[in-house]
């Protein structure tokens, strides 16, 4: 990745949050009036009313909001798996019209191929892309090492824990060397300890690779711990209610969660989120 000198200067000033510069214009992800409507048997549901904004190159952005607010839907739009009813998502200036080579997704549920070994699972994306076996397996071994799964190359998913399976999915995504990593509650099915641990691992890997990340979660601590920015979505039909920049130093260790600043940020995000969660619950309560 190339970064303009000005970026580095601004980093030395702000130390933590990298402000988008002129050189970044057009790089990264741009949301422009994105609206998503689901067809249903009786009419349609407006999942996302209007989302505009930008994730500049190399930033880690978390998307948080009440359950069912359309976070995952927005991620699918960036991943090219769902078309918006209006508006566009552009990556590096190009409108997204389908799945792209420079984005890779990690899903909440287990998405390992149970009949394949870890090695072959991790290499799967490159296999689909037509990379020769020898090359893709060599590269897969490196990534397996990076995510801490060395020694498990020949195991099958059934022999792995939930956390390890998610690491396989992350490794598979990383191996595609995407510019943008789209993670849909990747640790949602894991227990709290595993979550903390694998979150730290993700930060370590991210520090080495510095990809843009759009990370869907409903865990406030996780969002703050990992991100440069936390985007808070409203209840359906969703808009971005607020963007909270996270001005904590990097690299971050889990200890940072007990710092006063972390608590302030958590409170701030929770205050913004609480109203929306209540709204979401009320909407649901009204449904027959």
């Amino acid at each position: 990745m190339t970064r303009s000198p000005s970026t580095f200067q601004s980093e030395t000033h702000a130390a933590t949050t990298r402000r988008p510069t002129a050189a970044d214009e057009g790089r990264g992800v741009r949301f422009d009036g994105v609206q998503v409507v689901y067809p249903t048997s009786d009419g349609s549901i407006e999942a996302i009313r209007e989302v505009s904004g930008a994730i500049s190159d190399g930033r880690f952005v978390s998307l948080i909001g009440p359950s069912g607010c359309g976070k995952s839907t927005l991620l699918d739009v960036v991943g090219g798996l769902r078309r918006p009813a209006a508006g566009t998502v552009a990556i590096n200036g190009e409108a997204v019209s389908g799945p792209r080579r420079d984005t890779a997704m990690v899903f909440q549920e287990d998405s390992t191929l149970h009949w394949r070994t870890v090695l072959s699972n991790v290499a799967f994306g490159l296999e689909i892309a037509g990379v020769p076996k020898k090359e893709r397996e060599t590269r897969a071994r490196e990534i397996i090492n990076l995510v801490g799964l060395s020694g498990f190359e020949d195991r099958h998913p059934r022999e792995l824990s939930g956390g390890m399976k998610q690491r396989v999915a992350i490794a598979r995504a990383l191996l595609l060397d995407p510019r943008i990593l789209l993670m849909d509650e990747p640790f949602g099915a894991l227990d709290q300890q595993t979550r903390m641990f694998i979150g730290r691992e993700l930060l370590r890997v991210w520090d080495e690779t510095r990809k843009s990340v759009l990370f869907v979660t409903h865990d406030i601590q996780e969002a703050i711990y990992l991100s440069d920015e936390v985007w808070i979505m409203t209840a359906r039909p969703a808009v971005i209610k607020a963007i909270v920049p996270v001005d904590l130093d990097r690299p971050r260790l889990p200890e940072i969660m007990s710092s006063p600043r972390f608590h302030e940020l958590s409170t701030q995000v929770w205050e913004l989120l609480r109203v929306e969660s209540e709204k979401a619950l009320n909407i649901r309560g009204e449904l027959p």
Binding site: L113, H114, F124
Partner: protein
């Protein structure tokens, strides 16, 4: 697909592992399995001397041995094997792709699914007289009968199996920009393979049943015909010999497919 694997399968695997894992107990599982056929054989031995209507196992086995030694069993065996293998092959080659289409194509599914589900309840053997009038008594009508019989369980199982493929894996495939062929060969079929194999195995069992029943009804050659001839002539050792042979062939064939299915599942 859920995160945790199926617990009963896991426990079963564990239990099998415990039985087979420890050295001194290696024989336990095969020994436990073989008790049932041995018990059946013992019952046969016990009953045979009591009545003239049951020949002794020794007589039946001697007759079977003669069948191979003299060669009188080969034409029938070859004829039945041809009908079963050809019919089963046709059943797989038509049932599998059509089942795939039925499971993955919404329009095909909406049109044909009720039709096939309904036909599934019709005893297929009633079509045999129709085939006989069309093709005459012989291998062609019998093979057709076997093919029709094998087709239904295979198309039904394949259709259900490919429809139940994990949405998550399909989403993964699309996000990786897999084309239609890659989705089929690298995601849908491998994920559905164990369930498809169940249909294929059942299709094989039914193929054999259909061939024998067809031969009992009308045929020029075949093991079923030989059984009914032996029965008519009251050549009981010969009848038992052929019955035994049919049982062994069906058993072995099914076990082979079953172990393949288990291998796919693990």
């Amino acid at each position: 697909m859920t995160v945790t694997s199926d617990p009963p399968a896991e426990t079963a695997a564990l239990a099998a592992g415990q039985l087979e894992g420890r050295r001194e107990r290696r024989w336990a599982l095969p020994a436990a399995r073989i008790t049932v056929p041995i018990a059946a054989l013992l019952i046969w031995f016990a009953i045979a001397p009591i009545t003239d209507l049951v020949p002794s196992p020794a007589a039946a086995l001697a007759e079977l041995w003669q069948g191979f030694a003299d060669g009188w069993i080969y034409p029938g065996l070859a004829s039945t094997a041809t009908a079963v293998l050809a019919g089963f092959g046709i059943g797989v080659l038509t049932g599998f792709p059509l089942g795939y289409l039925l499971g993955r194509n919404r329009i095909a599914n909406r049109i044909f699914e009720p039709l096939i589900a309904g036909t599934f309840a019709v005893p297929r053997i009633i079509l045999y007289p129709v085939l006989l009038t069309l093709f005459g008594v012989g291998l062609l009508a019998e093979t057709g009968m076997v093919a029709i019989s094998a087709f239904f369980p295979i198309i039904m199982a394949t259709s259900a199996a490919v429809r139940q493929v994990s949405e998550n894996l399909l989403k993964l495939g699309r996000s990786l920009r897999a084309n239609r062929r890659q989705l089929a060969t690298k995601i849908v079929i491998p994920d559905a393979a164990p369930a498809i194999m169940v249909g294929i195995r059942i299709g094989f069992s039914i193929s054999f049943i259909a061939a024998i029943i067809a031969e009992l009804f009308a045929a020029k050659e075949g093991l079923g015909l030989m059984i009914s001839e032996a029965y008519a002539a009251l050549e009981l050792p010969r009848m038992y010999a052929i019955v035994l042979l049919v049982m062994v062939i069906a058993f072995v064939g099914n076990i082979l497919l079953w172990s393949l299915e288990r291998r796919l599942r693990s």
